[in-house]
Amino acid sequence: MSENVLDLSVHELRRKLLQGQVTAADMVDAALKRIEALDGAIGAFITVDAEGARVAAEKVDRMVTEAVRSGDEKALPPLAGIPVALKDNICTRGLRTTASSRILESFVPPYSATVVEKLQSAGAIVVGKTNLDEFAMGSTTESSAFHTTRNPWDLERVPGGSSGGSAAAVAAGMASAAVGTDTGGSVRLPSAFCGTVGLKPTYARVSRYGVISYGSSLDCVGPIAGNVLDCAIMLGVMAGLDPRDATSSPEPVPDYVESARSGLDGLQGVRIGVPAEFFAPGIASGVRETVERTLHRLEEAGAELVDVSLPHVEYSVAVYYLVATAEASSNLARYDGVRYGLRAEGKDDVGSTIAASRTEGFGQEVQRRILLGSHALSAGNYAAYFDKAMRVRTLIRRDIEAALEKCDCFVSPTSSTTAFKIGEVRDPLAMYLQDIYTIVANLAGVPAISVPCGLHQGLPVGFQVFGPMFGEPTLFRVAAAVEQASAGEMRRPKLEVM
């Protein structure tokens, strides 16, 4: 395949766009061609909006012409013409949004999520909607009701989840950047498995309006990009207060790009915490070596490594599965086949119709989590389960606050392994334990980023950086340094068709 303009980064594409070397139409064409060539094998997308993308590209190109003619390049929005992919649990007006569930298979939202409006008004072009674990409940994208997405680095392997389609799309160059959601690691884990940069922002940094809820107090919307700078550009566009999301933060949005750039000048004065619990036995040896090598390089770049401890982190998976499933059991109650979505045929009363619709419409994993959540919230179990989990959640948050008093950020592998084989993990509990390194950020609400730090046996290894609330600038700075330090070992996935 000829050279793909989408091999260029978002910031490089912008330069070329302003110099007239590339048009938005070229970028969209490149994305659509790549999707056509590769997505049959990868399965990153559920819906591709070729027509909508082309129309949007024409509009952007007129804007570019105008901006260039008037010499006012700043007037051109930051993501002009950039093809982006959206996880299919993010509502798009007039474009089918399924959450990878049969129950929403034909749902066409009459509104767009705030993050979509922000991206579109920044000039981004939505090329399609990407595959996920049904309702974002999973770590591999295998629980999608439609198909399994394959990892572009090895088609026999999972891309991670639940934002597996978004990470795979970026890794395979089918979009310049993508949006995912992260309730327990769903942006970071697929980023680690697919070699992309994925950020879970501070809770409420990015509006959740129009993003299909899973665990409301944990859900975050985050960017997935090919490099740290692009990820920072994306967050700058996506972040900010939203009058439609009562939980969104009024905190001003800083210049993340500048933070990312500063990471290239070394990490003098940065104290990086190394939690003992995150480097305990259980990490695959190749992953451990790659992460530790990176840590050493960060030290060489001027960072100070500090030992910290998160004593309650061992409970995080238990807390997470109670809180997330409890919230989910309630959030998923709206799918009753009354106003939209799948309605089962053949029942003559509304109660049976609702039950039949939900039973037909939800997959096994979703039903499993609804049951666990209903258990945790039942009046007789509330104190012992849901309330208890919320109290342990406080302890986990206190651990993180205490650790961050000794350091500016702390790190871990994003996952204990590299991408595993499709179908390899079958036991639900074993699957839940995949999230052990990522969940704490969601429980505490703090931001965390996964950045590739090298390859192990030809598969990417993710390096994770956690920061304090609204500490994204620190994360971008450290992640940029990681990226720089690992540049020698990283490359794009080799796809035979490419």
Binding site: N89, I90, C91, T97, A99, L104, F107, P109, P110, Y111, A113, R208, Y209, G210, V211, I212, S213, S216, S217, P243, R244, D245, A246, T247, A326, E327, S329, S330, L332, A333, R334, Y335, D336, V338, R339, Y340, V350, G351, I354, S374, L377, S378, A379, Y382, F386
Partner: protein, 486 residues
């Protein structure tokens, strides 16, 4: 129970009132009645995927106002919960409500029954959201082939007001409901129209042997849609439960439905198994911190409550207690009263309002505020009576025309030639004609039968078509009779 045991009914009431805010409580859709179906909705109140609630500040303010009017304590740290259950009118599969953190708690409302004041304690006042409107395509819920949903109502702000089980009779329940409605309307938080469903009432009813301090098994009664219904339903249910106990049975914990047409309650569902609502804090809304300053500001801006208004009318206008209370409990009446009493004698205005005017409104089914009657009309009528231009009887007849046509009373009096005859010459001529035509009664009067004079007055009235000034007629008649006797 031994025969002859006397039973007492114990009632607690749960009232829902729709808030009169301009927009819904968790989205910006307009609150408007009578709009075509599903034209006042958005992703939030339709419970669409990804939609999130955003609280309406005025809904909180109205809830605080209602709570203060009911003498409640205001919770400084309040929050919202999800009440999870499935029903097709519930868009999200849960209702946002307040569970154990109501905005108002521990208040009271005094009601008067048979001249005695009874204090009903208010347990809680909280804010929640309305469901969609469900209508059944068949005759009723049981035979309907299918049901239709209109989400215009979904998400309208609702306050729920729960009493302690302090009510001991159907009369008290009715008095409580009337007083509660008057109070909520007075503070402007709801229009409380029972017939239109913007105020709804459920009663928790049990009976026990009189003197017992234990509560009986609760029956929850739904579908009470009028003051008359609350009275009849509680009467019925108290009798039914007493009968069950008398015959040695056990009252089942259940929900029953009041059938107003049949005048009886019917079983809906058992409450033996507690409902499981899986309450938990609503993660999509932030908590409320209600400052003392804000509460004070709301308290200062509170409109006058019915009791205070009635007291003021008694003090400042000299109204009697019954009239003052009746007028103070209805915004329509007190508004009209104040407008009219600025130009006419207060007690006289009150007499008109609770008498002729209320009767005309009831009879015609037209509310006073929607009628053609204006305060100036009544002021003018009263002034014409006081100046002797028309009699009280004529005034009532003129009032009927004013009510029907909206014309000014003076114009009606002129057009119909109703002004009172006070002219001495004219009256004396009529009196003389009457004396001449009625020698019998004149003789009777002469023989000392004082009663004969009322017959003669009546004849003068008849002759003058009611227009003769009664006092003048009396005086002139006596003069002329005296002369005739000479």
């Amino acid at each position: 129970m031994p025969a002859g045991t006397e039973y007492e009914v114990v009632v607690g009431m749960e009232v829902h009132a729709e808030l009169a805010t301009r927009s819904k409580v968790f989205c910006s859709c307009p609150v408007s009645f009578g709009a075509p179906p599903n034209t006042q909705t958005c992703p939030v109140c339709l419970g669409m995927p990804g939609a999130l609630p955003m609280l309406n500040r005025r809904a909180v303010e109205f809830t605080i106002r209602a709570a203060l009017a009911l003498n409640c304590q205001i919770t400084p740290f309040s929050k919202f919960f999800r009440k999870n259950y499935f029903y097709p009118d519930l868009a999200k599969g849960f209702q946002i409500t307040q569970f154990d953190a109501p905005i108002g708690h521990d208040g009271w409302l005094d009601v008067e029954v048979d001249g005695e004041v009874k204090r009903i304690r208010i347990r809680r006042v909280h804010l929640e959201e309305e469901t969609a409107k469900l209508t059944h395509a068949g005759d009723d819920i049981i035979t309907a082939g299918n049901s239709l949903l209109d989400f215009n109502r979904s998400g309208i702000g609702l306050i729920e007001i729960v009493t302690e089980p302090d009510i001991r009779s159907a009369e008290e329940a009715r008095a409580y409901l009337k007083k509660l409605r008057a109070t909520l309307v007075a503070v402007g938080v709801s229009d409380c129209k029972l017939e239109e469903g913007s105020m709804r009432c459920e009663a928790n009813i049990s009976v026990r042997p009189k003197g017992s301090d234990k509560y009986g098994n609760l029956v929850e009664l739904k579908n009470i849609a009028s003051f008359r219904a609350v009275y009849r339903a509680i009467q019925y249910e108290a009798a039914r439960q007493s009968q069950v106990l008398e015959s040695g049975g056990v009252v089942r914990r259940e929900t029953r439905h009041w059938d107003d047409a049949k005048g009886e309650t019917a079983f809906m569902r058992s409450k033996e198994q507690a409902a499981e609502y899986c309450y938990f804090p609503e993660p999509d809304l932030m908590p409320l911190e209600i400052s003392e300053e804000w509460v004070e500001e709301i308290r200062r801006g509170m409109p006058e409550l019915p009791d205070a208004r009635a007291a003021r009318y008694m003090r400042d206008y000299g109204l009697n207690k019954e009239d003052a209370q009746q007028i103070a409990e209805s915004k329509e009446l007190w508004w009209f009263f104040e407008q009219t009493a600025a130009k006419a004698d207060g007690p006289e205005v009150a007499k008109w309002l609770v008498g002729e005017i209320s009767a005309a409104a009831n009879a015609s089914g037209v509310e006073l505020s929607q009628s053609r009657l204006r305060p100036e009309h009544i002021a003018e009528l009263i002034s014409m009576m006081e100046s002797g231009k028309i009699s009280g009887k004529i005034a009532k007849s003129v009032f009927e025309d004013v009510w029907a046509t909206g014309k000014a009373p003076a114009d009606i009096v002129r057009e119909r030639g109703l002004s009172q005859i006070s002219d001495e010459g004219e009256l004396r001529a009529i009196v003389r004609r009457v004396i001449e035509a009625n020698p019998g009664p004149v003789q009777d009067f002469g023989a000392g039968k004082e009663r004969a004079i009322s017959f003669l007055v009546g004849q003068v009235m008849k002759e003058s078509r009611g227009r003769a000034n009664p006092q003048e007629t009396n005086r002139i008649l006596r003069e002329e009779l005296a002369r005739a006797m000479e």
